[in-house]
Structure formats: C-alpha cells, structure tokens
Amino acid sequence: MIESCGASLVYSDHGKQVFACREITLDVRENEFLGILGPSGSGKSSLLYLLSGLKVPSCGAIRYFGKQLSEMSDEMRSRLRLREFGFVFQQPYLLGYLTARENVMVAAPKGNFADQAEKLLDRLGLEDKKHRHPHELSGGERQRVCVARALLGEPKVIFADEPTAALDHKNGRHVVELLNANRGHGSLVMVTHDPSMLEEADRVLRLADGAIESEEEAARAF
C-alpha cells in the first residue's frame, strides 16, 4: 500500500548535512499494524512524516498505491492526508474553542459525519463528555478524542507518533488498543520508544541513526 524506496530525509544544520532518515526501503501492507521502534533521535518521527506525506524525501521515493507522493502538489498531499490518513500526535492537540464532538468533526470538513463522530466517542468511553471543551478533559480523555478524530471517516492508514508518550501506562495501553481495534478498516503505523506498546503489532522495525537496523515479525521482536 505504502512503499518507501530508498527514501532519505536530509536536513541542513549550519551548512552540514544531517540524515534524519537514511535510504529507507520498506512497505506498509494493508490492514497491518506496523510498529517503528527506536531511541530518541533515531529518525522514527521523520520516517512517519515521510510515509504520511508531511515531508518530502530529499532522495528516493514514497509511493501510495503506486503514486509518488513527491510528484503530487502540496494541495494534493493535503487532500490525501484528510481523506485517506488519520493522525495521532504525541501531544493531544485539540482546538480549545471546540467541544470534543466538534474536535472530532474537524477531520471531516465536508459531508455529514456527525453520527459517526458521536458513535466513535461512545465507543471510546466519552459518551458523557462529548460536549465538553478540552480544558474540561483529562490528558487521557483528550488523547482519546484525538484517536476518535483519527478514526473518523475510516482512514486507510492511521499514523500515530508516540501517542502514548504523554500518558501513563494504563491510559497508553488503552489508546493502543483503541487504535488497533480499527485494523479491519486500515493499517496502523505507530512510532514509539516503548516496546510494550507494540505487543499487538504484526511487524516491528527497529531504527538507529536514521536507518533500519532490523525488521522482525512481532512474535520474534519480543
């Protein structure tokens, strides 16, 4: 579904070239849970940004169903993200002036997704908090709203960038379970430095210094 063919991401730091990702070759298969594991600064998040079209590779290519993302315009990549992908970020970013339900609806600016947004919030245990604003929710609840936003519209791929980093272990496990429960509809690509969050992953990639160190089936990874 998503292929990375020798993709590298190079930053310029005071005139010096720094590889955030180095010649990454991998594929994300349909309906799989792909875990990306590595220490801080290993290039996990950069790889996620490349795969999701948030960043364009400096060299190499990222293809989504055969279409090269770098050949798409900025606007086309944005459209792709909105329609086909879902995102959960490390920090539970929500719009402060919107309620939980409205924050979920943000992921679907067109079309009537109100019922789906409500059902998702019900499923995530926020049935009595739909009309609350972010400041009235706990950190775990805010991240669950972010999960609901990512799941809205049944995206083909969900990209989760350390979604459990700001949560305690119990809430973190719950968020991963919720994301994993969507796998019938699409794939889940999750970046983390905590191996215990990838127990349900199909495959685990280990990154070091921006390159893939190893790729293992999940059962062998732990």
Binding site: Y49, L54, S78, Y93, V106, D161
Partner: protein, 127 residues
C-alpha cells in the same frame, strides 16, 4: 489628513489581527497536518476577519449615526445649520479602513503560511 489616519488605523489593526493569528499557529499547524490546505486556512482567516470587520463597521456606523443625530438635534438644528446624517460621501470614507485591514491581515497571514511547516508545530519546535 484622512489618508494618514486611514494608514495609521490600518497598520494598528493589521498588527493586532496579525498578533491574534500568531496565537493560533498551533491550530493552523494541526489543521494543516491533518490535511487542510494553506488555501483553505487562508480562506478561513479571511472569512473570520471579514465577519469581525463587518460587525465592527456596522456597530461603528450605528454609533456614528446616533452621535450625529444627537449633534444635529442639540447643536446644529437649533442654530439653523443642516447636518446630513446619511451623507453618501461620508459613508464612502468608511470603506477604506476595513478594506485595508482585510488586505493587511490576509497578506501577513499569507506571508506567514509561505514558510509554514506543520511538522514544526506538531513537534512543538515552534511553540
């Protein structure tokens, strides 16, 4: 004199709107990261600015009309002077300020979006 006044008010209001939009940078970063285009965000800014301007212009117009009416009744009319409270030429002078503010606000946000990196926002590098 009016031109200088328009310029000063426009710069001040444009800067105020720019400060307000700067405070929303996380919102714009998040929306762009999940798939909103820069054009959509710019349209959103323009729409919101237009509403604020329309509201401000309407309130200003009503207040001016009321004030002129009072001035006419208390100062002008008793001294046999005429004051046209619905003067179309005076009304024409109320358009340049909101229009200029809209242009300044849109332009500053447009310039900000040109160098905008949503990844920097979601990674909290720019917050």
């Amino acid at each position: 004199m009016i031109a200088v006044l328009v310029l000063v008010i426009t710069i001040m209001m444009g800067m105020l709107i720019n400060i307000y939009q700067s405070q929303r940078i996380v919102e714009f970063g998040l929306l762009q990261a999940i798939g909103y285009t820069k054009r959509e965000l710019l349209q959103r800014v323009m729409r919101e600015t237009l509403w604020v301007l329309l509201l401000g212009w309407s309130i200003g117009l009503l207040c001016s009309y009321a004030l002129l009416h009072v001035a006419d009744a208390l100062l002008m009319y008793p001294h046999a002077y005429a004051l046209n409270t619905l003067d179309p030429i005076a009304l024409k002078y109320t358009f340049p300020v909101p229009l200029s503010i809209l242009i300044v606000a849109t332009l500053t946000v447009f310039l900000r979006f040109r160098k905008f990196d949503p990844v920097g926002i979601v990674e909290r590098r720019l917050v």
